[in-house]
Symmetry: C2
Subunit: 247 residues, 2 copies
């Protein structure tokens, strides 16, 4: 009976751990930010403080949270080691990080697409086409396409048949998410069209076509990021000058 | 007094942990291989079984060892998560892995060398030159140059000023080590010369020169790997036919 209770308690702790991680992501808490204290979290999730302590302990082990004695519990990373083995989510200045990620993606992903055009199996080609269709469908319905987008890029990397490339998939995923968060998940028509162009070239077993289409895809997104940053800085400048003229 | 003893014990456990890791590497134990049992290890390192248990526990936490109840303790990886965050050392067929690593290095490192030629500081340039000299010196003296070689490639990656590239340094290091183990740490004259060419181009702030010299450096090493594998296969074939003719 005691064992059974213990088992239940563990399950509850894990469940709250997941909810706490979702909370950190939804509130877009950044690395270094403090999370609410035990009392507040216990009330928020409707569980006891011991369960909260267990959930926090779990997230500390996973490198997501960090307890600083006497000052509270802080966000140490926003993704687990498994999802982000290189701890990219710890890096500050998300805009700069997104550009650095584009630099690296531009080195890797065009060549990966080219390898995919050479080595993808029939089954993989069908999966790739399906993922491209599904991402497009979600876009047309105005729904969140990010998980499918990540599946799409992951599938291309798997098709490369290079195991080192496969281990780099989390880097690509982190890049897709960082970009999506900065651009507020708006997807451009160009993204859809270049996704399609990459897939068509891979289906045609055209390595050069796949490579070039991937360069285009990444370049459109990189341009959108730079545009977004310029608008952001302009808005900030305007706010500042409005503040000055109000004085 | 009790605390003090506990402290000492912890230190001894950690020390044995390091020695056990060195033993695994020196014996070139591979992933999946069984390590000697507690009794044997206790005798080997001249410590009690409880210390061995502590060291094993430490290496299990680091993902190096894996305990299978009733059958023993096995190698799960040959590098710690910190040194090998993508768990590349877990991949089987080291020759295939070395080639896959070259594919990825050829995508990344020429461009990294090019960025280094653009962004390296004066201090970094001096460090780079020193590391190149030291690697060459070790080669001429017939000593182990691998740690310096790794420092050399790490320094170039740092000069790129791209933080994502910096997180990829362990991939390059694993590649250098995998290659070195397969070629029995023999260093070619071409390796030394192309190291020098990369450094000279970076010192001259010549991005194209640095990129091309790095392509040459990687290509010489890749060719040496393929040559070595062909010799290895030829020797195997010969052994087989000798066996047959003896029958």
């Amino acid at each position: 009976m005691y064992q059974f209770e213990k088992f239940d308690k563990r399950l509850l702790g894990e469940q709250i751990e997941d909810e706490l991680l979702n909370f950190i992501r939804q509130e877009q808490l950044e690395v270094g930010q403090k999370i609410p204290n035990e009392f507040e979290l216990a009330e928020k999730f409707g569980v006891g403080r011991s369960t909260i302590r267990e959930a926090v302990k779990g997230l500390v082990t996973k490198g997501i949270l960090e307890v600083k004695r006497g000052s509270g519990t802080f966000v140490a990373a926003t993704q687990s080691v498994e999802d982000d083995p290189l701890r990219l989510s710890k890096l500050k200045d998300k805009y700069k990080l997104a550009l650095e990620l584009f630099d690296v993606r531009l080195l890797l992903e065009p060549e990966i697409a080219s390898l995919a055009a050479e080595y993808a199996t029939q089954e993989e080609l069908e999966q790739l086409k399906r993922l491209c269709d599904e991402t497009e469908q979600l876009y047309l319905e105005g729904k969140n396409h990010i998980p499918k987008d990540i599946e799409f890029h992951t599938c291309i990397a798997r098709c490369s048949k290079n195991r080192v490339v496969e281990t780099l998939i989390p880097v690509i995923n982190t890049a897709v998410m960082t970009f999506a968060n900065l651009t507020h998940r708006t997807l451009m028509q160009e993204t859809i069209e270049t996704h399609r162009a990459v897939v068509n070239a891979i289906l045609d077993h055209d390595p050069v076509g796949a490579k070039c289409a991937m360069v285009m895809h990444l370049t459109y997104n990189r341009q959108a990021l730079i545009r977004r940053d310029k608008e952001h800085k302009k808005a900030e400048m305007k706010n500042k000058s409005d503040d000055l003229s109000c004085r």
